[in-house]
Symmetry: C2
């Protein structure tokens, strides 16, 4: 598991895999926006993706799950490894600045600081149902907040790049897997899922053609209930068909929007 805390335990190389971090781009969907859960360490004015290190007793995937759990309070989230980043320059220069800030604040950096040495980051993205997330602030964080991917704050290291690549991976995967399931509440309306796909893909999709295609997969099922949205026609609620959904996850489908 791992937090981003600068707990001394983190630097214990008996426990953690050296030189290897796991970064997890946690996506949520709210107010017609795709958002990522970011944290801002104390003292610094840049934000980071949720991240941590790998215990020598766990797998890479378990580490990613634990990172997601520590930030959202949710287990068994949909989580996908998309790329591993590693270069001599991706963190090193910035660590010099960080250490100065620490020194000015009277803090001394850890002696076993392999963390600022060459760092490989195994990057995942995680999909969450926004409303279920209870944001968990870690002790070393000043803040942890949802940010729209369209308007990100100043990011630390290469984390802006990591988010960019995560979004690309998500855009690629959404054509092959009915991923919307993971970002939406259990019951949702057609306009909602339509808008979600438009947001993720960053383009308009004809609503008639979109629903025609989505329904033809048999993955979503109309319910008898409707949702009241005020002074407008009440849209029907739908839910995902678990069986079909799992089959689509396994075998893949193609949604050529």
């Amino acid at each position: 598991m791992g937090t981003n805390d600068l707990d001394t335990a983190y630097f214990d190389e008996q426990l953690y895999v050296r030189n290897v971090a796991v970064d997890n781009v946690i996506f949520g969907y709210h107010d017609r926006e795709l958002k990522v859960l970011l944290q801002k360490p104390k003292l610094l004015d840049k934000w980071t993706v949720a991240g941590g290190y790998i215990l020598k007793t766990e797998s890479v995937e378990e580490a990613a799950h634990n990172i997601a759990f520590m930030r959202t309070g949710l287990k068994d989230l949909f989580l996908e490894q998309f790329k591993t980043f590693g270069s001599p320059t991706r963190i090193k220069d910035e660590w010099l600045d960080i250490e100065k800030v620490f020194a000015n604040a009277g803090l001394n950096p850890p002696t076993e600081a392999w963390i600022r040495d060459y760092s490989v980051s195994i990057a995942f993205y995680t999909l969450t149902e926004f409303s279920l997330v209870t944001v968990q602030k870690a002790s070393f964080d000043e803040a942890i907040e949802w940010w729209p991917v369209a308007q990100l704050p100043k990011m630390m290291f290469d984390h802006a790049l990591i988010i960019e690549e995560a979004l690309k991976a998500l855009q690629r995967d959404i054509y092959h897997y009915p991923i919307g399931y993971e970002l939406l509440p259990r019951k949702f309306t057609l306009p909602e899922i339509h808008s979600l796909y438009e947001t993720i893909l960053g383009k308009t999709l004809d609503n008639r053609n979109f629903t025609r295609k989505l329904l033809s997969t048999g993955i979503i099922k109309k319910l008898d209930e409707t949702r009241n949205i005020g002074a407008h026609r009440s849209p029907f609620l739908y839910k995902f068909e678990k069986k079909r959904y799992d089959a689509a996850l396994k075998d893949g489908i193609f949604l050529g929007f």
Copy 2:
């Protein structure tokens, strides 16, 4: 960069990133078979994927390129990162056996053996034009050979799994990128590329529909030359249109076979 040699330099943690290996599944196509380039270390009776470690002065991608170069003698190959493997069990148990073999042979394992500690492997696949490859045997290898992916020998660690995942990634990618280019000679015939796609995807593809679709992308271009194949009609030669090919690599296409 890195070889799989047990050169002492490899254990120098000043030079190499600890706990992180790069494994590279090198694909080639020959005799209507998809093959992978494997090596067999001396003393052991199992085979491994081409692999090595990362110099602290290079990026992960550079390391992968160097591994490919050391085995094939070729630079700038098409190379794709597809997954990073890491778990407490993936190498540890087998290292115990390996050390026994070493001990029996009167060799003593390196003292700085972080190599047999927790190991993360960043896996790539590489596509090569079979006939251009000049296989390069490393000093610690007893053999290095092409093996058909359909009939692999006994593999070390989780390398059978890594190859399996590489093939899955290749099968996925071939639908989106005109990857055949990298596995075929500069000039090729329609039956050749047809057979290549059938081999990779592991299913028969109607030749008429296949060529219709492939030609419609504008990625390959008919030449005036033909190839003599003995007592049969001489098939025309084709080549890839560099410009269209690059555009397809960048933007992606969809070949729904």
